[in-house]
Amino acid sequence: MPTSLVVNGRRHETDLPPDMPLLWVLRDELGLPGTKYGCGVGACGACTVHVAGRAVRACQVALADVQGSVTTIEGLGTPERPAPIQEEWIRHQVAQCGYCQSGQIMQAAALLAENPTPDDDAIDTAMAGNLCRCGTYSRIRAAIHAAARRMQGG
């Protein structure tokens, strides 16, 4: 089915099955491997991206249901110009294996967009669906708090 899709500000014309999950469209068809496959059933958060500014599990969104522009980790920042939240991730040396971190960062970025001063409970609630097998949770929490302070100009 021909579909037009805006990802990281670029329009792509695709001809793919309408039920194909956005995750695999991004990874295999558009060549954006930063978004990860962890479970395929909405249970790990590794595939988290933004659709119209909201965090969604890309493995659970069919191509036909994508309403609005998509932002992936590649669209958030680059190694040369990381987004402030990515800078805090780097400053706090959050990643271990790193595999879950695209999803963690996208989930946290959506949280901060919605709630610029999240407390620990808000972080718990927002991040509860993002698994990290390496157990980087405490540094993720610290990086989110630091990014929030930074957004407040503090």
């Binding site: 060549g31 491997p33 990860k36 395929g40 271990q96 609630t125 097998r133 540094r139």
Partner: protein, 734 residues
């Protein structure tokens, strides 16, 4: 000695080839004309930060500028063998290591060298690389000075190095980039002395990780991210029992658009398609009839074999201090007998990145991209499977989205090679579904323990432990070499025969259950169950003796190993351990000495309206020398969380010859809101017989977590937790 080792190593071929404008100084170092330094860090980066610290070891002696460094896995090559792998398998107790034993360990370096064991595992990377990598840096630095001396017409002794430059007394300086070409032509000097820790600039500090920026921007390339021109996407379905396939019907799958090939692998099938999702959909649509397993098909039958092994004759008796059997048969007057049995289940690795690999067969040449922990083994096995010359097989190691021992296996790499063999000339990426990953693991084995002990006068008089489980080392060496080493299996009793306790009558038997169900190395291996058995039972003994469990341990540990005692004392201070907890709060303590490093942990639980919560945890660790405290802290937290996830939730059960847990909803882990606040302190007293020991840190954080939380549950509820996972018997908040 150090110098001798380096000489021997230097005879192995250097696999590096200089690119344009580059100079290769040794197998670990490439310097480009513009001053960029590439350090080959030939251990798998799977999250443990190994590339950063291996690179720091080289950079420290090289006086390199950290900003100019790139760390790479590099090619698979014999020169990158892990020299400590065999020596650390000898049945010595690390905490009581004698000088001669340390020498014997070192003398085994030639074995992994000969066998080309380029393996990341056993928390050995720093133990192997500590001297090797610094020598690579120091020797290169001296060579660069010789090159500068020629250019400047000055004696090399008058020159010094700083931040990637050689500097003359008159202030003139030359960059490493300018000198590298000439330096590469100079024979490296012998016997270069290494700097004492007091002069370290990078080592001993938390360095910015070399992989951090890539991993925070989605640009780190994992195996699953490999993309090659013309590449096809595939997935596999194999028999969970690994016994083969009776037949299959792929009619429906073949008809699905985008499906290019169904490959009959004999023992399973692969679907090759135009994207991974199509491949997975089609693979699900294939109807397959599997051969039955060569082991009891369900958990009850499997567990019965483990229980039965407890009554069989033991494979090992690696601890036999005093006369535990005699004491237990005729306890002295006033001694109290304590008996308990413990059980733990099978566990999956559940690396965040599912198993995958990519392969391309062109004529008689095979190229592989694989997130793996043992590239030379992968190469050998892939070559043997496709009947190719090993020299014609190239293995590229990508980042690993978690390893934990799973990626030391070669099954996923060989599978990719087999699928590629059906598509000559076409690169094929084979990605397993999460379901395939979880049901085709090499599991941490289930295990059972029968413990007996005597307490008298407030201390432990005797402890006898019997541990039964399938042998991980035997299975692994069968897979690797087709034979299992005879004799006592040390790996099976690690974490229980080698603990730093001075119990006068102390006896540990290992019993092997002969089960074909695939088992493998899972972060901390047997320590992961033996630590639980030992430290839960020590807690039971402490309570039977009417003693505070931390003080009880301290009294037994102090005479055996002073650094471990200091670790417990520091832990007591940090956690504010008083031996008393208010209503609704429970605390437990445990210590396990594994991989050369003792780790002590306190876990605090709290009742809440939503169930029991893991509220806080304290960790003290002593690796002897802390090369990167930032990474060690991260590994301690990671290890604790890994252990707590297993203790509370982890279990793989079997029915119909396959694991019943297939994806994360069935295999719960700790999450942001269920992870405790964690405090870590690092001590450096555990220096070993030669005063320069260095312990592992990737695994030792895991074993004490499980008994610490079980002991905390006893403090909280008055009920002993003698089997895992705890969520089966206790009400945890989720």
């Amino acid at each position: 000695m150090a110098f001798g080792v380096y000489q021997a190593r230097r005879n192995l071929p250097n696999p590096l080839v200089a690119g344009p404008g580059e100079a290769v100084l040794n197998p670990w170092l490439i310097i480009a004309g513009d001053g960029r330094i590439t350090i080959i860090t030939p251990r798998a980066e799977m999250g443990q930060g190994v590339q950063t610290t291996l690179a720091a070891l080289v950079a420290e002696e090289l006086d390199a500028d950290w900003q100019q460094i790139t760390a790479l896995h590099g090619p698979a090559a014999q020169v990158y063998y892990n020299g400590v792998l065999i020596g650390l398998g000898l049945p010595f107790r690390d905490y009581a290591l004698k000088r001669w034993q340390a020498r014997v360990q070192k003398a085994t370096d030639f074995l992994p060298r000969m066998m080309g064991m380029q393996v990341t595992g056993g928390s050995t990377s720093m133990r192997d690389g500590f001297e090797k990598m610094r020598l690579a840096g120091a020797t290169a630095r001296e060579t660069l000075k010789l090159a500068a001396a020629q250019r400047l017409g000055l004696p090399a002794e008058t020159l010094h190095t700083e931040s990637g430059r050689v500097i003359a007394p008159d202030g003139r300086s030359l960059s490493y980039g300018e000198l590298a070409g000439e330096a590469a032509a100079i024979p490296p000097p012998d016997g270069v002395a290494l700097r004492p820790p007091a002069r370290w600039k990078y080592l001993g500090r938390a360095m910015p990780r070399t992989d951090m920026v890539a991993k925070c921007t989605g640009t780190a390339e994992f195996g699953i991210d490999i993309r090659l021109p013309g590449m096809k996407f595939a997935t596999v379905r194999m028999n969970p029992a690994r016994t083969g396939m009776k037949g299959f019907d792929a009619t429906a799958a073949k008809a699905m658009p985008g499906v290019e090939r169904i490959v009959d692998l004999g023992d399973g099938i692969a679907v090759v398609a135009s994207n991974t999702w199509l491949a997975m959909q089609a693979a699900d649509a294939v109807e397959i009839e599997w051969e039955p397993p060569a082991w009891p098909p369900d958990s009850a039958g499997l567990e019965a074999m483990i229980t039965a092994a407890l009554d069989d004759s033991p494979n090992s008796h690696l601890r036999d201090d005093g006369d535990a059997a005699g004491q237990l048969a005729r306890p002295p007057a006033g001694a109290r007998l304590v008996e308990a049995e413990y059980r733990v289940p099978w566990l999956a690795h559940a690396t965040m990145e599912p198993m995958n690999a990519t392969a391309l067969l062109e004529g008689d040449r095979l190229t592989i991209w694989s997130p793996n922990q043992a590239p030379l083994i992968a190469r050998e096995k892939a070559a043997a499977t496709l009947d190719l010359d090993e020299e014609n097989v190239t293995v590229n190691t990508t980042f690993l989205g978690g390893g934990f021992g799973r990626r030391g296996e070669f099954d996923f790499t060989v599978l990719a090679a087999r699928v590629a063999a059906a598509m000559p000339g076409v690169p094929v990426k084979v990605t397993w579904s999460r379901e395939e990953d979880m049901t085709h693991d090499f599991y941490r084995p289930a295990a059972a323990a029968r413990m007996r002990g005597l307490v008298a006068d407030g201390t432990a008089l005797a402890l006898e432990a019997r541990v039964a489980a399938p042998s991980v080392s035997r299975q692994a060496s069968m897979r690797l070499a087709g034979l299992a080493p005879p004799g006592p299996d040390k790996g099976h009793v690690e974490g229980i025969f080698d603990q730093p306790y001075a119990i006068p009558h102390y006896s540990v038997y290992g019993h092997l259950a002969d089960l074909a169900l695939p088992v493998g190395f899972w972060r901390s291996v047997a320590n992961s169950f033996n630590g639980f058995f030992h430290e839960c039972f020590i807690d039971e003994l402490a309570h039977a003796a009417g003693r505070d469990p931390l003080q009880f341990r301290l009294d037994l540990i102090r005479p055996a190993h002073a650094p471990s005692a200091m670790l417990l004392e520091r832990l007591r201070e940090m956690a504010g351990w008083s031996g008393r907890t208010p209503e609704g709060v429970g605390r437990g303590v445990a210590l396990t000495y594994s991989f050369g490093t003792p780790v002590a942990e306190v876990v605090e639980l709290r009742d809440s309206p939503r169930g029991i919560r893991v509220h806080e945890a304290w960790i003290t660790v002593d690796p002897g020398t802390a090369l990167d405290p930032g990474i060690i802290r991260a590994q301690m937290e990671s290890g604790l969380i890994f252990g707590l996830s297993a203790a509370i939730h982890g279990q793989i059960t079997f029915a119909g010859g396959a694991a019943e847990q297939r994806n994360f909803p069935d295999y719960e882990l700790l999450r942001m809101h269920t992870t405790p606040k964690i405090h870590v302190d690092i001590l450096e007293n555990n220096k070993g017989p030669d005063g320069n020991a260095i312990g592992g840190t990737g695994e030792p954080g895991t074993p004490p977590a499980m008994p610490a939380i079980a002991n905390a549950l006893f403090d909280l509820t008055g009920r002993r937790a003698r089997r895992l996972p705890l969520a089966g018997d206790f009400d945890f908040a989720v």
